[in-house]
Amino acid sequence: MVQITYTDAKGTARTVNGEVGSTVMETAIKNSIPGIDAECGGACSCATCHVYVDEAFLPLVGAPEQAEEDMLDFAFDVRKNSRLSCQIKVTEALEGLRVTTPTKQG
Protein backbone atom coordinates (compact mmCIF):
# COMPACT_ATOMS: atom_id res chain seq x y z
CA MET A 1 0.00 0.00 0.00
CA VAL A 2 1.21 3.47 -0.91
CA GLN A 3 -0.07 6.64 0.71
CA ILE A 4 -1.47 9.24 -1.65
CA THR A 5 -2.78 12.68 -0.67
CA TYR A 6 -5.34 14.44 -2.85
CA THR A 7 -5.87 18.14 -2.21
CA ASP A 8 -8.91 19.75 -3.82
CA ALA A 9 -9.04 23.22 -5.39
CA LYS A 10 -10.27 24.66 -2.08
CA GLY A 11 -7.30 23.23 -0.18
CA THR A 12 -8.94 20.27 1.60
CA ALA A 13 -6.52 17.34 1.77
CA ARG A 14 -7.51 13.66 1.88
CA THR A 15 -4.96 10.89 2.39
CA VAL A 16 -5.75 7.33 1.31
CA ASN A 17 -3.93 4.09 0.54
CA GLY A 18 -3.34 3.12 -3.05
CA GLU A 19 -2.61 -0.39 -4.27
CA VAL A 20 0.63 -0.92 -6.15
CA GLY A 21 -0.24 -1.61 -9.79
CA SER A 22 -3.48 0.36 -9.79
CA THR A 23 -3.61 3.98 -10.94
CA VAL A 24 -3.86 7.30 -9.12
CA MET A 25 -7.29 7.79 -10.75
CA GLU A 26 -8.57 4.34 -9.67
CA THR A 27 -7.38 4.97 -6.12
CA ALA A 28 -9.31 8.26 -6.07
CA ILE A 29 -12.54 6.72 -7.40
CA LYS A 30 -12.32 3.75 -5.02
CA ASN A 31 -12.01 6.17 -2.10
CA SER A 32 -14.69 8.59 -3.34
CA ILE A 33 -12.22 11.46 -3.66
CA PRO A 34 -14.10 14.48 -5.05
CA GLY A 35 -12.70 16.50 -7.98
CA ILE A 36 -11.82 13.53 -10.22
CA ASP A 37 -14.60 12.53 -12.64
CA ALA A 38 -12.87 9.91 -14.82
CA GLU A 39 -15.75 9.76 -17.29
CA CYS A 40 -13.97 7.28 -19.58
CA GLY A 41 -12.91 4.95 -16.81
CA GLY A 42 -9.18 5.28 -17.42
CA ALA A 43 -8.96 4.90 -21.18
CA CYS A 44 -7.07 8.18 -21.63
CA SER A 45 -9.96 9.50 -23.67
CA CYS A 46 -11.80 12.07 -21.55
CA ALA A 47 -9.30 14.26 -19.67
CA THR A 48 -11.61 14.44 -16.64
CA CYS A 49 -9.05 12.90 -14.29
CA HIS A 50 -6.66 15.86 -14.56
CA VAL A 51 -4.40 16.52 -11.54
CA TYR A 52 -1.41 18.69 -10.69
CA VAL A 53 1.49 16.62 -9.37
CA ASP A 54 3.42 18.07 -6.44
CA GLU A 55 6.73 19.39 -7.78
CA ALA A 56 8.78 17.14 -5.48
CA PHE A 57 7.26 14.05 -7.10
CA LEU A 58 7.54 15.16 -10.74
CA PRO A 59 10.85 13.36 -11.42
CA LEU A 60 9.43 10.13 -9.93
CA VAL A 61 6.13 10.33 -11.80
CA GLY A 62 7.78 11.15 -15.13
CA ALA A 63 6.49 12.91 -18.20
CA PRO A 64 3.26 12.07 -20.01
CA GLU A 65 3.36 9.99 -23.17
CA GLN A 66 2.20 11.40 -26.50
CA ALA A 67 -1.40 10.17 -26.20
CA GLU A 68 -1.75 11.67 -22.73
CA GLU A 69 -0.16 14.95 -23.82
CA ASP A 70 -2.70 15.12 -26.66
CA MET A 71 -5.57 14.38 -24.30
CA LEU A 72 -4.36 17.09 -21.92
CA ASP A 73 -5.37 19.58 -24.63
CA PHE A 74 -8.96 18.87 -23.54
CA ALA A 75 -8.29 19.75 -19.91
CA PHE A 76 -8.56 23.23 -18.49
CA ASP A 77 -5.83 25.35 -16.88
CA VAL A 78 -3.08 22.93 -17.86
CA ARG A 79 0.25 23.57 -16.13
CA LYS A 80 3.76 22.17 -16.32
CA ASN A 81 2.90 19.63 -13.61
CA SER A 82 -0.40 18.57 -15.16
CA ARG A 83 -1.04 14.85 -15.59
CA LEU A 84 -4.02 12.61 -16.25
CA SER A 85 -4.26 10.55 -13.10
CA CYS A 86 -5.43 7.41 -14.93
CA GLN A 87 -2.03 7.33 -16.62
CA ILE A 88 -0.02 7.38 -13.38
CA LYS A 89 0.62 3.89 -12.07
CA VAL A 90 0.98 3.54 -8.31
CA THR A 91 4.46 2.21 -7.44
CA GLU A 92 6.39 1.85 -4.17
CA ALA A 93 8.56 4.75 -5.29
CA LEU A 94 5.56 7.08 -5.13
CA GLU A 95 5.03 6.61 -1.37
CA GLY A 96 3.58 9.87 0.02
CA LEU A 97 2.57 11.19 -3.44
CA ARG A 98 0.71 14.49 -3.33
CA VAL A 99 -1.59 15.69 -6.12
CA THR A 100 -4.02 18.61 -6.38
CA THR A 101 -7.28 18.54 -8.35
CA PRO A 102 -8.23 21.50 -10.60
CA THR A 103 -11.30 23.75 -10.18
CA LYS A 104 -13.10 22.09 -13.08
CA GLN A 105 -12.78 18.76 -14.88
CA GLY A 106 -15.21 18.58 -17.81
Binding site: A43, E69, D70, F74, K104, G106
Partner: protein, 350 residues
Amino acid sequence: MTQGQIEEVIHTDALIVGAGPVGLFAVFELGLLDIRAHLVDILPKIGGQCSELYPEKPIYDIPGFPLITGQGLVDNLMKQIEPFHPQFHLGEMVVELETLGTPDAPLFRVRTDAGKVFEAKAVLIAAGGGSFQPKKPPIAGIDTYEGASVFYAVRKMEAMRGKRIMIVGGGDSALDWTLNLKPLAERITLVHRRDAFRAAPHSVNAMREWVADKQMDLLIGQVTELKGENGILSAAVVKGEDGSLHEVACDALMPFFGLTMKLGPIADWGLGLHENLVPADTAKFETNVPGIFAIGDINTYPGKLKLILSGFHEAALAAQKVHRYVYPDKKLSFQYTTSSTSLQKKLGVS
Protein backbone atom coordinates in the same frame (compact mmCIF):
# COMPACT_ATOMS: atom_id res chain seq x y z
CA MET B 1 -42.07 27.86 -37.72
CA THR B 2 -44.17 30.72 -39.16
CA GLN B 3 -47.93 30.52 -39.01
CA GLY B 4 -49.74 28.86 -41.86
CA GLN B 5 -46.73 26.75 -42.79
CA ILE B 6 -47.55 23.07 -42.76
CA GLU B 7 -45.10 20.93 -40.82
CA GLU B 8 -43.88 17.89 -42.61
CA VAL B 9 -44.23 14.99 -40.23
CA ILE B 10 -42.16 11.84 -40.51
CA HIS B 11 -44.28 8.87 -39.49
CA THR B 12 -42.53 5.86 -38.04
CA ASP B 13 -43.33 2.82 -35.91
CA ALA B 14 -40.50 3.51 -33.50
CA LEU B 15 -38.23 6.46 -32.90
CA ILE B 16 -34.87 5.74 -31.29
CA VAL B 17 -33.15 8.58 -29.45
CA GLY B 18 -29.40 7.89 -29.70
CA ALA B 19 -27.39 5.91 -32.25
CA GLY B 20 -24.96 4.29 -29.80
CA PRO B 21 -24.46 0.50 -29.82
CA VAL B 22 -27.72 -0.08 -27.95
CA GLY B 23 -29.83 2.13 -30.23
CA LEU B 24 -28.30 0.32 -33.21
CA PHE B 25 -29.03 -3.16 -31.87
CA ALA B 26 -32.59 -2.07 -31.06
CA VAL B 27 -33.05 -1.60 -34.83
CA PHE B 28 -32.23 -5.30 -35.24
CA GLU B 29 -34.58 -6.56 -32.55
CA LEU B 30 -37.40 -4.29 -33.74
CA GLY B 31 -36.70 -5.21 -37.35
CA LEU B 32 -37.16 -8.93 -36.68
CA LEU B 33 -40.65 -8.03 -35.47
CA ASP B 34 -41.39 -5.91 -38.59
CA ILE B 35 -41.09 -2.67 -36.71
CA ARG B 36 -39.45 0.15 -38.66
CA ALA B 37 -37.30 2.67 -36.90
CA HIS B 38 -35.78 6.11 -37.32
CA LEU B 39 -32.79 7.12 -35.20
CA VAL B 40 -31.70 10.60 -34.14
CA ASP B 41 -28.28 11.46 -32.73
CA ILE B 42 -26.72 14.81 -31.98
CA LEU B 43 -23.32 13.52 -33.11
CA PRO B 44 -22.47 13.75 -36.79
CA LYS B 45 -21.46 10.08 -36.70
CA ILE B 46 -22.96 6.77 -35.66
CA GLY B 47 -21.83 4.68 -32.67
CA GLY B 48 -22.18 6.74 -29.46
CA GLN B 49 -19.42 6.31 -26.89
CA CYS B 50 -17.78 3.45 -28.85
CA SER B 51 -16.93 5.60 -31.85
CA GLU B 52 -16.63 8.97 -30.11
CA LEU B 53 -14.58 8.00 -27.07
CA TYR B 54 -12.73 4.80 -27.84
CA PRO B 55 -12.87 3.79 -31.53
CA GLU B 56 -9.42 2.16 -31.47
CA LYS B 57 -9.58 0.58 -28.01
CA PRO B 58 -10.34 -3.09 -27.51
CA ILE B 59 -13.51 -4.38 -25.82
CA TYR B 60 -13.17 -7.84 -24.30
CA ASP B 61 -16.66 -8.59 -23.00
CA ILE B 62 -18.89 -8.74 -26.05
CA PRO B 63 -20.18 -12.32 -26.09
CA GLY B 64 -18.64 -14.27 -28.93
CA PHE B 65 -15.92 -11.67 -29.60
CA PRO B 66 -12.77 -12.26 -27.53
CA LEU B 67 -11.59 -8.86 -28.75
CA ILE B 68 -13.24 -6.19 -30.85
CA THR B 69 -12.51 -2.44 -31.07
CA GLY B 70 -15.14 0.20 -30.38
CA GLN B 71 -15.35 1.11 -34.06
CA GLY B 72 -15.21 -2.55 -35.09
CA LEU B 73 -18.31 -3.26 -33.01
CA VAL B 74 -20.18 -0.31 -34.50
CA ASP B 75 -19.23 -1.36 -38.05
CA ASN B 76 -20.47 -4.89 -37.35
CA LEU B 77 -23.73 -3.60 -35.88
CA MET B 78 -24.29 -1.44 -38.97
CA LYS B 79 -23.83 -4.50 -41.15
CA GLN B 80 -26.16 -6.53 -38.95
CA ILE B 81 -29.00 -3.98 -39.15
CA GLU B 82 -28.60 -3.21 -42.85
CA PRO B 83 -31.51 -5.48 -43.89
CA PHE B 84 -33.88 -3.26 -41.90
CA HIS B 85 -32.93 0.01 -43.63
CA PRO B 86 -32.89 2.22 -40.55
CA GLN B 87 -33.16 5.95 -41.24
CA PHE B 88 -30.57 8.10 -39.51
CA HIS B 89 -30.92 11.76 -38.61
CA LEU B 90 -27.47 12.82 -37.46
CA GLY B 91 -26.28 16.11 -36.04
CA GLU B 92 -29.69 16.72 -34.51
CA MET B 93 -30.76 16.72 -30.89
CA VAL B 94 -34.18 15.47 -29.84
CA VAL B 95 -35.55 18.37 -27.83
CA GLU B 96 -39.28 17.84 -27.37
CA LEU B 97 -41.49 14.86 -26.73
CA GLU B 98 -45.24 15.28 -26.63
CA THR B 99 -47.78 12.58 -25.80
CA LEU B 100 -50.67 12.42 -28.27
CA GLY B 101 -52.14 8.94 -27.79
CA THR B 102 -53.57 6.98 -24.90
CA PRO B 103 -51.80 4.50 -22.61
CA ASP B 104 -53.29 1.62 -24.66
CA ALA B 105 -52.52 3.17 -28.02
CA PRO B 106 -49.58 5.47 -27.47
CA LEU B 107 -48.54 8.04 -30.03
CA PHE B 108 -45.81 10.60 -29.63
CA ARG B 109 -44.75 13.72 -31.44
CA VAL B 110 -41.03 14.28 -31.25
CA ARG B 111 -39.09 17.33 -32.40
CA THR B 112 -35.41 17.92 -33.06
CA ASP B 113 -33.48 21.16 -32.73
CA ALA B 114 -33.19 21.21 -36.52
CA GLY B 115 -36.99 21.45 -36.69
CA LYS B 116 -37.73 17.88 -37.78
CA VAL B 117 -40.98 16.41 -36.50
CA PHE B 118 -41.71 12.71 -36.04
CA GLU B 119 -44.82 10.83 -35.05
CA ALA B 120 -44.05 7.47 -33.51
CA LYS B 121 -46.03 4.74 -31.78
CA ALA B 122 -43.13 4.04 -29.49
CA VAL B 123 -40.06 5.98 -28.42
CA LEU B 124 -36.93 4.14 -27.33
CA ILE B 125 -34.56 6.32 -25.37
CA ALA B 126 -31.07 4.92 -25.95
CA ALA B 127 -29.36 8.15 -24.99
CA GLY B 128 -26.45 6.65 -23.03
CA GLY B 129 -24.76 9.16 -20.78
CA GLY B 130 -26.70 11.92 -22.50
CA SER B 131 -26.04 13.92 -25.61
CA PHE B 132 -22.46 14.79 -26.47
CA GLN B 133 -22.01 18.53 -26.04
CA PRO B 134 -19.01 20.84 -26.24
CA LYS B 135 -16.99 21.31 -23.05
CA LYS B 136 -17.11 24.82 -21.71
CA PRO B 137 -13.87 26.28 -20.40
CA PRO B 138 -14.07 27.59 -16.82
CA ILE B 139 -13.41 31.22 -17.67
CA ALA B 140 -15.29 33.60 -15.37
CA GLY B 141 -18.43 35.01 -17.00
CA ILE B 142 -18.09 32.97 -20.22
CA ASP B 143 -21.82 32.10 -20.23
CA THR B 144 -22.81 35.76 -20.43
CA TYR B 145 -21.07 35.94 -23.82
CA GLU B 146 -22.46 32.67 -25.21
CA GLY B 147 -24.70 33.10 -28.24
CA ALA B 148 -23.51 36.61 -29.09
CA SER B 149 -19.72 36.32 -28.90
CA VAL B 150 -18.76 32.84 -27.71
CA PHE B 151 -19.48 29.95 -30.07
CA TYR B 152 -18.82 26.21 -29.79
CA ALA B 153 -19.90 25.62 -33.38
CA VAL B 154 -20.75 27.80 -36.35
CA ARG B 155 -24.02 27.23 -38.17
CA LYS B 156 -23.74 30.26 -40.48
CA MET B 157 -20.21 31.16 -41.55
CA GLU B 158 -21.40 34.46 -43.02
CA ALA B 159 -22.24 35.71 -39.53
CA MET B 160 -18.50 35.67 -38.78
CA ARG B 161 -17.54 37.98 -41.66
CA GLY B 162 -15.37 40.94 -40.71
CA LYS B 163 -14.89 39.75 -37.13
CA ARG B 164 -11.76 39.45 -35.08
CA ILE B 165 -11.97 35.82 -34.06
CA MET B 166 -10.04 33.99 -31.38
CA ILE B 167 -10.00 30.21 -31.81
CA VAL B 168 -8.78 28.05 -28.93
CA GLY B 169 -7.56 24.46 -29.29
CA GLY B 170 -5.07 22.25 -31.12
CA GLY B 171 -7.15 19.55 -32.76
CA ASP B 172 -8.96 19.25 -36.08
CA SER B 173 -11.97 21.32 -35.03
CA ALA B 174 -9.80 24.28 -34.03
CA LEU B 175 -7.62 24.06 -37.15
CA ASP B 176 -10.51 23.42 -39.56
CA TRP B 177 -12.32 26.50 -38.31
CA THR B 178 -9.12 28.51 -38.51
CA LEU B 179 -8.79 27.57 -42.19
CA ASN B 180 -12.49 27.99 -42.97
CA LEU B 181 -12.94 31.35 -41.30
CA LYS B 182 -9.63 32.89 -42.35
CA PRO B 183 -10.97 34.26 -45.68
CA LEU B 184 -13.97 35.87 -43.95
CA ALA B 185 -12.46 37.14 -40.75
CA GLU B 186 -10.87 40.52 -40.12
CA ARG B 187 -8.18 38.73 -38.10
CA ILE B 188 -7.76 35.26 -36.64
CA THR B 189 -5.82 34.47 -33.48
CA LEU B 190 -5.28 30.81 -32.73
CA VAL B 191 -4.52 30.05 -29.09
CA HIS B 192 -3.19 26.68 -27.97
CA ARG B 193 -1.50 25.63 -24.75
CA ARG B 194 1.56 24.15 -26.48
CA ASP B 195 3.33 24.50 -29.79
CA ALA B 196 2.28 21.04 -30.97
CA PHE B 197 -0.97 20.25 -32.76
CA ARG B 198 -2.98 17.05 -32.99
CA ALA B 199 -4.73 18.22 -36.16
CA ALA B 200 -4.04 16.88 -39.64
CA PRO B 201 -0.51 17.95 -40.73
CA HIS B 202 -1.67 19.72 -43.90
CA SER B 203 -3.95 22.07 -41.93
CA VAL B 204 -1.21 22.70 -39.38
CA ASN B 205 1.20 23.55 -42.22
CA ALA B 206 -1.29 25.92 -43.83
CA MET B 207 -1.80 27.65 -40.49
CA ARG B 208 1.96 27.96 -39.92
CA GLU B 209 2.47 29.51 -43.36
CA TRP B 210 -0.13 32.16 -42.65
CA VAL B 211 1.44 32.89 -39.30
CA ALA B 212 4.90 33.25 -40.91
CA ASP B 213 3.27 35.55 -43.46
CA LYS B 214 1.71 37.63 -40.66
CA GLN B 215 -1.75 36.91 -42.06
CA MET B 216 -2.92 35.54 -38.73
CA ASP B 217 -1.60 35.17 -35.18
CA LEU B 218 -0.66 32.15 -33.13
CA LEU B 219 -0.36 32.47 -29.37
CA ILE B 220 0.90 29.71 -27.10
CA GLY B 221 -0.97 29.94 -23.82
CA GLN B 222 -4.38 29.75 -22.24
CA VAL B 223 -7.32 32.15 -22.09
CA THR B 224 -7.78 33.37 -18.53
CA GLU B 225 -10.14 36.33 -18.78
CA LEU B 226 -12.78 37.80 -21.07
CA LYS B 227 -13.49 41.52 -21.39
CA GLY B 228 -16.59 43.14 -22.78
CA GLU B 229 -20.00 44.56 -21.96
CA ASN B 230 -23.60 43.37 -22.19
CA GLY B 231 -22.63 39.98 -23.55
CA ILE B 232 -20.50 41.51 -26.32
CA LEU B 233 -16.85 40.55 -26.21
CA SER B 234 -14.13 43.14 -26.81
CA ALA B 235 -10.96 41.34 -25.74
CA ALA B 236 -9.56 38.15 -24.26
CA VAL B 237 -6.56 37.83 -22.01
CA VAL B 238 -4.12 35.04 -22.82
CA LYS B 239 -1.59 33.84 -20.30
CA GLY B 240 1.61 32.68 -21.94
CA GLU B 241 3.73 29.72 -20.86
CA ASP B 242 6.05 32.09 -18.98
CA GLY B 243 3.11 33.62 -17.12
CA SER B 244 3.05 36.82 -19.17
CA LEU B 245 -0.39 38.26 -19.97
CA HIS B 246 -1.45 39.35 -23.46
CA GLU B 247 -4.69 41.20 -24.11
CA VAL B 248 -6.03 40.45 -27.59
CA ALA B 249 -8.87 42.49 -29.06
CA CYS B 250 -11.57 40.19 -30.43
CA ASP B 251 -15.29 40.05 -31.23
CA ALA B 252 -15.73 36.30 -31.15
CA LEU B 253 -14.25 33.42 -29.18
CA MET B 254 -14.48 29.79 -30.29
CA PRO B 255 -13.19 27.27 -27.72
CA PHE B 256 -12.63 23.63 -28.78
CA PHE B 257 -12.02 21.43 -25.75
CA GLY B 258 -13.76 18.30 -26.93
CA LEU B 259 -17.10 16.88 -25.87
CA THR B 260 -18.73 15.82 -22.66
CA MET B 261 -22.04 14.04 -22.08
CA LYS B 262 -24.96 16.04 -20.71
CA LEU B 263 -28.42 14.62 -20.09
CA GLY B 264 -30.07 17.56 -21.87
CA PRO B 265 -33.78 17.76 -22.76
CA ILE B 266 -34.62 14.22 -21.57
CA ALA B 267 -34.80 15.70 -18.07
CA ASP B 268 -37.99 17.55 -19.07
CA TRP B 269 -40.01 14.59 -20.36
CA GLY B 270 -41.69 13.66 -17.08
CA LEU B 271 -39.92 10.32 -16.74
CA GLY B 272 -39.29 10.52 -12.99
CA LEU B 273 -35.51 10.61 -13.25
CA HIS B 274 -33.37 9.05 -10.57
CA GLU B 275 -29.87 10.56 -10.35
CA ASN B 276 -30.08 11.67 -14.00
CA LEU B 277 -31.10 8.18 -15.14
CA VAL B 278 -34.45 6.99 -16.44
CA PRO B 279 -36.06 4.29 -14.27
CA ALA B 280 -37.38 1.34 -16.30
CA ASP B 281 -39.01 -1.96 -15.41
CA THR B 282 -37.00 -5.09 -16.06
CA ALA B 283 -39.61 -7.10 -17.98
CA LYS B 284 -39.94 -4.71 -20.92
CA PHE B 285 -37.74 -1.73 -20.07
CA GLU B 286 -40.67 0.63 -20.29
CA THR B 287 -40.65 3.91 -18.36
CA ASN B 288 -43.46 5.39 -16.28
CA VAL B 289 -45.02 6.54 -19.58
CA PRO B 290 -46.48 3.63 -21.58
CA GLY B 291 -44.87 3.57 -25.03
CA ILE B 292 -41.64 5.24 -23.91
CA PHE B 293 -38.79 2.80 -23.31
CA ALA B 294 -35.32 3.36 -21.84
CA ILE B 295 -32.48 1.04 -22.86
CA GLY B 296 -28.71 1.05 -22.44
CA ASP B 297 -26.63 3.31 -20.21
CA ILE B 298 -29.46 5.84 -19.76
CA ASN B 299 -31.73 3.55 -17.71
CA THR B 300 -31.65 2.38 -14.13
CA TYR B 301 -33.19 -0.57 -12.27
CA PRO B 302 -32.06 -2.77 -9.42
CA GLY B 303 -28.89 -4.55 -10.48
CA LYS B 304 -28.24 -2.41 -13.55
CA LEU B 305 -24.79 -2.79 -15.13
CA LYS B 306 -23.69 -0.17 -17.65
CA LEU B 307 -22.46 -2.71 -20.15
CA ILE B 308 -23.10 -3.02 -23.85
CA LEU B 309 -24.32 -6.58 -23.39
CA SER B 310 -26.94 -5.46 -20.85
CA GLY B 311 -28.17 -2.88 -23.34
CA PHE B 312 -28.54 -5.53 -26.03
CA HIS B 313 -30.69 -7.68 -23.74
CA GLU B 314 -32.80 -4.67 -22.81
CA ALA B 315 -33.37 -3.85 -26.49
CA ALA B 316 -34.61 -7.39 -27.19
CA LEU B 317 -37.16 -7.29 -24.37
CA ALA B 318 -38.34 -3.77 -25.15
CA ALA B 319 -38.97 -4.77 -28.77
CA GLN B 320 -41.49 -7.41 -27.66
CA LYS B 321 -43.62 -4.78 -25.94
CA VAL B 322 -43.23 -2.26 -28.77
CA HIS B 323 -44.73 -4.94 -31.04
CA ARG B 324 -47.92 -4.89 -28.93
CA TYR B 325 -48.31 -1.16 -29.58
CA VAL B 326 -47.46 -1.26 -33.27
CA TYR B 327 -49.46 -4.41 -34.08
CA PRO B 328 -52.14 -4.61 -31.37
CA ASP B 329 -54.00 -7.41 -33.16
CA LYS B 330 -51.04 -9.64 -34.02
CA LYS B 331 -49.83 -12.39 -31.75
CA LEU B 332 -46.10 -12.81 -31.32
CA SER B 333 -44.62 -16.25 -31.45
CA PHE B 334 -41.10 -16.89 -30.29
CA GLN B 335 -38.64 -17.78 -33.06
CA TYR B 336 -34.93 -18.40 -33.58
CA THR B 337 -32.99 -16.67 -36.36
CA THR B 338 -31.22 -20.00 -36.93
CA SER B 339 -34.31 -21.93 -37.90
CA SER B 340 -37.20 -19.58 -38.64
CA THR B 341 -37.73 -19.15 -42.38
CA SER B 342 -39.78 -16.02 -41.80
CA LEU B 343 -37.02 -14.37 -39.76
CA GLN B 344 -34.44 -15.41 -42.34
CA LYS B 345 -36.53 -13.82 -45.08
CA LYS B 346 -36.50 -10.55 -43.17
CA LEU B 347 -32.74 -10.79 -42.84
CA GLY B 348 -32.44 -11.46 -46.55
CA VAL B 349 -30.63 -14.77 -46.03
CA SER B 350 -33.29 -17.34 -46.89
